[in-house]
Symmetry: C2
Subunit: 602 residues, 2 copies
């Protein structure tokens, strides 16, 4: 629909001219056409692809920037030859500078247990623009003629987001492009000098016959272009239990309000639960052991969250001055999360701050809870007693933790004192930066320590705590290793390996899908580094980081099982000796590879 | 979650400092807190509200800009006195420059038929920041003691979006703020020098007793601030039929792919249908008579659509060279849209261009349909015959139109010729800019002419066409009147009145929810003026424009009924004389008010 000729206004005429510059780009779940911008034109050999500029509008239709091979200042791409090229890229993050490599290395081989997921990555690049890049995999067949079912093997294109860099605490205007999201797009184009990683995942069925399975991954473009990548997967006789049976304590905080806002649905509406189910089941597939719940409004504030958390408990001060607590949202959400495979622990944020809001029945106002210390104590004792008896009636007592996030020892102490006196049946959870023993006189039932604060003394305490039935884990947040996009992919895998090697119960990460405003396009949120607030993308779409974090958890479970079966080796145990661990990027990647190889050999 | 102290990195320390600047803002469906930025501080008297700056991040949490009263260059707001103020703002778009007005004009009165919706608007403003602005309405009671049910009366806060201005065809950096969206937020704050319009809607029950109903709308802020607005609604004994019974032909194009993309769900998944249902039922509430369907990929291109339309018909070229057509999406969507109250007409876009894509079974490629003219004709004849027999089998023959959008007469002629010869059972629809008679030798079953092209000769043709059972409507798109945010609100109401006055069958608008990337924040799309591509917001949330467009359609139906009952008056008919219509903004507003008053008097 455009303006009728006899009423054309200038902006419309211009508009049509503008339109001619636009190239057709498709969206979510269909065919994506990525077209090179001016930058690409410098090395264009196929003129039919050249001469287009991309108006700002279109940069948003699939990716914030078109992934292009890095050109030197003369506009030349080193090592780029005419034609359609590709290689096995391994499990590293690919960018414009490292995409081109040894094209003789096309073959992929891996070792897996039954019921395990294994991954591979390939990258293709082309000097000329090519249309309709698409992947297909032949059946994986063993020498004995066994075949892995087709649905066991999937390929996903790596999709890119930008993230702003931070220098000396200030957000800079520089935006870097990161391949991370694993997308369900069926086909897409390569612009001139474009590259595109392709992610392979094999989910070995629990009943797969051991053996060596072979097949071919084919990447086609246009009608005639085709590259073959030989695949070889050795399936061992070991069987990995299902995630619900995994022992590692995994705590990735969930954010229901981010899902509601992003998907444009009302929090805790039927549509919201339909969507949440997809995210919670994905989280459960990592062996998640906790449900993130809230008992106050805004337990963190906006420094960590584009979308504020609200309380799952509605508090009302009745006209007669008495108080009522509505747990209907809390109850339904917890029950639903359990159905999705989360739990048994229920971590309720938070007591620190002793602050929430309630509705004043008389005026209809939403007010902040009384802050005067005496009244405040009265308020919280009243609530905690009511809450304890409620969860007891629900049969959840023993699984419910009042959770604190990096609170000062004094805050922890006052919270613990209040909790123990008012509701001794509720447990205490905290992520902190000191050994538990430094919080004098407080027994923290579930404690997580920041990776960078871990000492041999802490690891000793963890063993004693475990004997007492207390949970002790470590968490990453900034520093290294970490899961953000600015850190090497290997660091995600290292986290699970580190936990089992150090004799900790598990791992914690504060953000599974605490999205910035538009995570499919910009992964950064204020000063948080790109990807620092989430691992899963809307859809849900998985990420390379998510799959590698899960990979490390799988390795941890395999190590536990091998040890229990007395099948571990001195070689493997040597690699798992915490005293020898370093905190260097190089170490993480080498040690992950070494541990993986040692486990695969058994 | 923040970094452990012993591993703090500078950006984190800085990050925390940054955080102190952030104010807590809530999102979708809850309490929204809008805080004045530096601009507001110039006229702040309540220092507790002053001295805050808002980082870019927060501007996105509820509205792109905080609505503030217009200050002159000295930072003074003319006519602003201390305290909390308000007035009846009428049915005009309120902004920072026209919000302040006669505070003695607080009373609202209106006249309604039974089963009709009537609206009012109020605006409040305050020199000091006030917290928790909220609205409540007392029961509307008649002298006879009849009471309108509580759910019949609703209030919604007006929410703002920005739109960029276009000068001489170029997008300028200037962004204007427009109040348009009717939001479900329960409470929000007024910053210092802030204003906020509140929208009142009364949906009179079909069984309401005629009479004069009175009540009070109260706008409260904080604990003590309160403004009362007396309401008086006269309910006549006339009854307006339900939208499904309305006679005016209404065609507002729907865009399933925009809903799928915005809400982040897969097109035509169960979740997508759940969401689409809410939008389609809202469209049906305007008496929508057509279902927008597609039979080709990308019938328009991206010039009109941030989200491309795709084909609801999957075409495959089999290995043996034969062709297969999968109508499953088309069938389910049309059936679903009918269940939602749309139809009976099914407008299928498009034949113009003779271009679509199909899947080549042999290579798995998606290719463009053959463009060579002979092959092309062969392709389309084959498809159209198949399509005709399919819709015949579905029992839809007679309701299915192949639709063209502003095609050149030659394109129309070739399309019509092809359609008539290949599938004479399918009808033809087109929006154009010439009288139907100028498309020599082509009978267009459903024709819509751009408002600016309407002449007395065309209106004569429309009457002859109606006698032949053909549908003739007018459409707006740019120019004036129009529904975009840059046009006065009254023009939306005028469209329906104009159609009935001119003896046309109805109205057409190309965009009910063809959203730009982020319609809740920026209403503009490339050169299209703000709001020019949509009337409904995600949620769905209604808009002032949507309600006023519907209001004009209701008036048109009331005029039709009054005429049929012989109750129209010379005074009313004089106001409806097309020969006297002008194309000036001033005329539209005066004539809408005059027609409304004349109808209300009957």
């Amino acid at each position: 629909m455009k303006l009728c000729e006899s009423s054309v206004e200038s902006f419309e005429i211009e508009g049509k001219k503008e339109m001619n510059k636009l190239r057709v780009l498709a969206v979510v779940g269909t065919v994506a056409m990525c077209v090179g911008g001016a930058a690409a034109a410098t090395c264009v050999t196929n003129l039919s692809m050249a001469g287009f500029t991309i108006p700002d509008e279109t940069k948003w239709t699939y990716e914030p920037k078109v992934p292009l091979l890095k050109q030197d200042k003369d506009g030349v791409v080193r090592g780029l030859n005419p034609g359609f090229h590709g290689r096995n890229a391994g499990l590293e993050r690919i960018n414009g500078a490292n995409a081109i490599g040894d094209e003789n290395a096309k073959a992929w081989s891996s070792v897996a247990w039954r019921n395990e997921k294994v991954h591979g990555q390939f990258v293709v690049w082309s000097q000329e623009g090519v249309r309709r890049l698409r992947a297909s995999v032949s059946p994986l067949v063993s020498a004995e003629g066994n075949v892995l079912p087709q649905e066991a093997v999937t390929t996903r294109f790596v999709r890119h987001v930008v993230g702003h860099s931070v220098r000396k605490g200030r957000i800079t205007s520089r935006e870097d492009l990161y391949g991370d999201c694993l997308d369900d797009v069926e086909q897409l184009d390569l612009p001139p000098c474009g590259y595109r990683p392709v992610w392979l995942t094999v989910s070995v069925p629990v009943d797969a016959r051991p053996g060596v399975y072979k097949g071919v991954l084919a990447l086609r473009a246009g009608a005639a272009l085709k590259l073959d990548f030989p695949l070889e997967l050795t399936v061992r006789s070991h069987t990995l239990p299902s995630p619900s049976q995994w022992r590692l304590f995994v705590d990735l905080w969930q954010h229901p309000w981010a899902v509601a806002r992003y998907h444009g649905v009302k929090p805790f509406s039927e549509l919201h639960y339909n969507l949440m189910g997809m995210y919670l089941r994905e989280v459960a597939s990592l062996g998640q052991k906790t449900i993130t719940a809230t008992i106050v409004d805004d337990p963190w504030g906006q420094g960590n969250n584009y979308d504020l958390f609200h309380s799952m408990v509605e508090v009302t001060r009745r006209k007669d001055g008495t108080w009522s607590y509505d747990y209907s949202v809390f109850d339904r959400y917890v029950t639903f999360a359990k159905e999705c495979g989360l739990g048994p622990q229920i971590h309720c944020y938070t007591l620190a701050g002793f602050k929430t809001s309630y509705t004043d029945e008389a005026t209809g106002e939403r007010l902040l809870s009384i802050s005067d210390s005496n009244k405040s104590r009265e308020y919280w004792v009243r609530f905690l007693k009511d809450f304890e008896s409620h969860v007891k009636a629900k049969g959840w007592l023993g699984d419910v933790y009042v959770a604190l996030d990096e609170s000062h020892p004094d805050v922890l102490r006052s919270s613990a004192e209040l909790l123990r006196s008012a509701a001794p049946g509720l447990k205490l959870a905290m992520a902190g930066n000191r050994k538990p023993s430094e919080y004098k006189g407080v027994d923290i039932d579930n404690f997580s320590l920041h990776y960078s604060c871990i000492t041999p003394e802490f690891l000793d305490e963890a063993k004693i705590r475990r004997a007492k039935g207390l949970t002790t884990s470590c968490y990453v947040c900034g520093g290294r290793p970490c899961t953000q996009l600015t850190r090497p992919l290997y660091e995600n895998t290292w986290i699970g390996i580190f936990a089992v090697a150090s004799g900790l119960d598990g791992i914690l990460r504060w953000a599974a899908f605490t999205w910035p405003r538009d995570p499919l396009f910009d992964g950064s949120f204020i000063q948080w580094p790109p990807g620092g607030t989430y691992l899963l993308y809307p859809g849900p779409r998985s990420s390379m980081r998510w799959e590698m974090l899960r990979d490390g958890i799988e390795i941890a479970e395999k190590i536990r099982i091998l040890r229990e079966q007395g099948k571990s080796t001195p070689e493997l145990e040597r690699l798992l000796e915490p005293a020898a661990f370093k905190r260097e990027t190089q170490f993480f990647s080498e040690r992950v590879s070494a541990v993986r190889a040692a486990v695969d050999a058994l």
